[in-house]
Subunit: 276 residues, 3 copies
């Protein structure tokens, strides 16, 4: 199974570079530069217009839409809903990252609205965020996975991810030490990644951007999502090997380097991706 | 000619470092950090205040104003207009980068408003944006140069740039493989640059910032603009030679390094700048 | 004295890494990514939610709040006031960085409002900003220390810092070549740092974030503030030694690396921190 999935997704980077898909992001102001750079490193083209006045115009030019709720306000929420609905109408995949879901009413209600009104194609969050949305009381603290959630049994997460996917019609991905991705029927695990990735900001957001890049050129959004998550994890492993010893600044630079290299052809080596 | 222009602009970095001009930016939230760092690397001082409440106060302290419409909203458009008018009244050069012009009505109307109400000193965009503003139907896709526009004959671009400069009274610069800059009468070509610059976000925005830096200390805005564009292109070549092989993260770091070094004295070597 | 202070603060990094305190920032869009990364490098966890709708909810989860007025608007000012008041009510330390105070009425009035309505725990600015708030006419130009203020006698700054601390009840820190920190009675000097730190954006903002990190785990906010300022200065010295020769891009990467390394255990060497 591993080989079969890897055989398919290892073609993705070349397709991306050939098509240079436009990836529209409505995202947070903390990691927006990182998201733009990772999108370019993967061979796609980012656009970050976030005003309601142009949300629909811009998304109509795009091959995928990222909705990332890292920093929210009334103006950008309106853009997210408008762009999201317009994208869905045109069959443009919508990748939703419910950053910080569980951290407060405003954020929780916004996640609900986006899920209900936009009906994203892919819902990708960390374990705490996905468990919170699943209705499991999660001990979310800010935007990182809580320590409690790190110890939740993998089979429980698998069950919640599958159910949430079946209930919402989204591809659902819960990232953690082992990433679990499902369309409600199939489940894919990704075991690439390195713990130093949580020592810099934006690795979650960048993973979402890569997911959008690969979903923009694949008809199989389950595989597109797995490819995005795997690509970032693999880059993290490689970046740690090259630069981890120097500190988080060098690691951050190396991470972008490694996505760039992977997108120029070496995907397929050292992938840890399994269907199960 | 080449030597004459180079002889003049090679003095610019020292003048910048001696004066440390304040460069006010009203710009996008994607590359604002890159713009601040490149401004500092060139020896100037950036300030990014973008609220209408203080736009006029802040610009009155500045030696140049950048208006970059990468990400727009009602609040920042109002600031752009207010600060732009105040700058013009005080003879502070206004450098306008119409990012994404052609990508939708909101953006197109805003570019029109800024051109008509502010009457910028310099209009600097990529070929797609400048051709769109010239009334040539451009196939703009997001914020990058479209493939169609990459193949437009250089003489046509030259003609459009000269006419737009004559019509608007702006120095007009269209960046591409060969950059073309005109005040309506003279034309300057810059051939420095490297294609890897389009693999990271913000190289266009940073070029605009450098243009503002050099325009802030020069009485000849045509040369100030050429110097800014040339400096970025030269840094791109040097950064590629040093770090291109490692990927886009290392290239990005090297690009800032090389602008820093150029601004500390090595401008004048390997410049490819021609009047013609 | 030096040894005594160093003995206490050298324990801080380990405490931070053990507790992973959440540091809520309401800050500017220029350096927000740098602030998030430096917070993570120090072993804490950043959250940057800046909307009034959630300011109180988010700060109630936090161990410290940064209010940084680098880029202001009506919406974020409201969030700053709301979050600041909520934090104070819950005894969460509030670190206020009055970026650009002195550069215009909007900024000056906002600094006043925050000082009066929030009553921050720590007020940390550069010499120009602190002198302006002290009522000394400062020649602030944008967001950097003015040349005039660089030449002000150290004893005068000391006196103003002590008086401002006594008058406001804040720990007051004025950063410059020599940093001066006081609670109104005691005065601590920090002499770590390197002038290349002013060649990149965000070193002041990142210092404020580190101050918040250390204040979040210390009962002695005077020492917490000194530790934050010292840690950044020490990282600057080390980054310059390693990477300064390559330019400001490499220096910027090295600065994050060095904070990461210091926070993993080497604080205590080469600290230049004195009570006097």
């Amino acid at each position: 199974m591993n080989n079969k999935i890897t055989d398919i997704i290892k073609e993705y980077p070349d397709i991306v570079r050939a098509k240079k898909p436009l990836i529209h992001h409505i995202t947070n102001y903390v990691t927006v530069n990182d998201c733009a750079n990772i999108t370019l490193a993967a061979g796609a083209s980012p656009v970050m217009a976030d005003d309601p006045e142009e949300a629909e115009d811009i998304v109509s030019l795009a091959a995928a839409l990222v909705i990332n709720m890292g920093t929210l306000n009334k103006r950008t929420i309106e853009s997210m809903i408008k762009a999201g609905k317009a994208a869905k109408k045109k069959n443009i995949p919508v990748i939703f990252d419910p950053v910080g879901a569980g951290a407060g009413t405003f954020r929780n209600e916004t996640a609900d609205r986006i899920l209900n009104e936009v009906k994203p194609s892919v819902l990708k969050g960390n374990v705490s965020e996905i468990l919170f949305i699943s209705g499991v009381s999660a001990g979310a603290k800010g935007v990182d996975v809580s320590d409690d959630d790190k110890n939740i049994n993998e089979d429980i997460i698998r069950e919640k991810v599958m159910k949430l996917a079946a209930d919402t019609g989204c591809i659902v991905a819960a990232t953690g030490e082992k990433d679990i991705i499902s369309d409600g029927k199939r489940v894919i695990y990704v075991e690439n990644g390195h713990k130093m990735m949580s020592d810099i900001t934006g690795t979650g957001c960048m993973t979402t951007s890569l997911t959008a890049v690969f979903c923009s050129i694949s008809n199989d959004l389950l595989l597109g999502t797995a490819a995005g998550i795997m690509c970032m994890g693999l880059a993290g492993e490689r970046a740690f090997a090259l630069a981890g010893q120097y500190g988080s600044g060098s690691f951050r630079t190396a991470l972008l380097d490694e996505v760039y290299k992977i997108s120029h052809g070496i995907i397929g080596e050292n992938t840890k991706i399994f269907e199960g």
